[in-house]
Symmetry: C2
Subunit: 230 residues, 2 copies
């Protein structure tokens, strides 16, 4: 069984010192991904970015997936955990969600990484520790707290994903999607969908910030088993 990259030390003592560092490699990879998406993160390109040969990268990382782990954890490291928990766990978690959202916005490729494997590294674990600290006075079973954290993460990812799809420049792909949708709307067999598109975008309330409106409700529902009402 292969040990996690975080359990292998960077320097092995003997032999020549490595010319690069995990941090530098991760930074280079993140930069590439920020510009060209995850597809731009190939072993050859990352190696070239730090001025190394492609095969040399494998001295630092066992597979490409491990490189992605490095990147994800580097991104998690951007979250500011210095603010002490206020005592209001709901507010603290929502604040954490905001912070997380900024990370997702800065590094959209995280959306293509996160779903698959959660991949905890040192920084990710620190974030989890912070979330648990936030909930320390809350009387809820530990698994529920874990689920709450996972849900928070997934919820934020979902939000950023949809805001990336809706807003922003209209891609060619979106246009062809819209064209198909138009043909569906006019085929007569989808009345509700047609009605939905007939309304003149009735004063769209600027997509209320679901982070502040819905997330607290979700967390409450998940963590406060007390006074349940249907």
């Amino acid at each position: 069984m292969a040990r996690s990259i975080w359990l292998r030390q960077e320097r092995s003592g003997r032999g020549p010192a490595p010319e690069h560092s995990r941090a530098r490699i991760a930074a280079a990879a993140v930069e590439l991904a920020d510009v060209g998406g995850l597809d731009a993160v190939s072993m050859r390109k990352v190696a070239a970015a730090i001025g190394a040969g492609a095969a040399s990268l494998y001295r630092y990382v066992e597979t490409r997936d491990e490189l992605l782990e490095l990147m994800a954890d580097a991104a998690a490291g951007e979250i500011d955990l210095s603010r002490a928990p206020s005592g209001d766990w709901r507010a603290d978690l929502v604040a954490l969600a905001h912070e997380l959202r900024e990370v997702y916005r800065r590094h959209p490729w995280m959306l293509d990484i996160a779903p698959g494997r959660v991949a905890l590294g040192p920084n990710t674990v620190d974030v989890l520790e912070y979330a648990l600290a936030t909930m320390q006075d809350l009387d809820a079973p530990t698994p529920a707290k874990m689920e709450a954290f996972a849900l928070l993460n997934g919820f934020v990812a979902l939000l950023v994903r949809s805001e990336k799809e809706l807003g922003g420049a209209t891609t060619e792909w979106q246009e062809s999607q819209a064209e198909f949708l138009a043909s569906v709307v006019t085929d007569g067999r989808h009345p509700h969908l047609a009605a939905a598109f007939a309304t003149p975008s009735q004063a769209t309330p600027a997509v209320a910030d679901l982070l502040d409106s819905v997330l607290p409700r979700v967390l409450t529902g998940l963590l406060e088993t007390g006074g349940d009402r249907p």
Copy 2:
């Protein structure tokens, strides 16, 4: 701009009749993915599965992504939409979520496809139409209903993802993750995490079915703007 595959007709009239069909191709690709994941869905393998040359696939599909669209829509077609809306939109949406979850469970590769591009095809659009029909008596702005559907989808995906990670056979990767976690727990700098793992899994309530417990709350929060309470 390239037209959506759903706007191009399968048969072009002139010339020899195609030897295969989109449905057959999609079915073969789905079968491959069910067994070996999305990685097993290569143009060459799919082509071989239907007894064709690799290059021939491009007569039916413009890119591999379009093939994935075919697959996703085929999966969406497995959802049973025959039950008429009951009048209780919440119950109907939860039932739809259950149906959706079965699809995700049957076709885990959907989890690696859905996040990126929502990719509406004929079947997907039918599901959306059904969801809207379910909410027709509900007095909420159309965009909110759309968000609710997207959220429902994302929520189900999130759930299936976590149940796939937690349950099931312990992979080698999970073991190395656990090993790292153990080292973190014992390093003394993560007290809350340590405490979380110290509790003897206190009567884990079998991960209550979040679909029935949390989803209705989320939907309520999103769609019922009335009597708001902090």
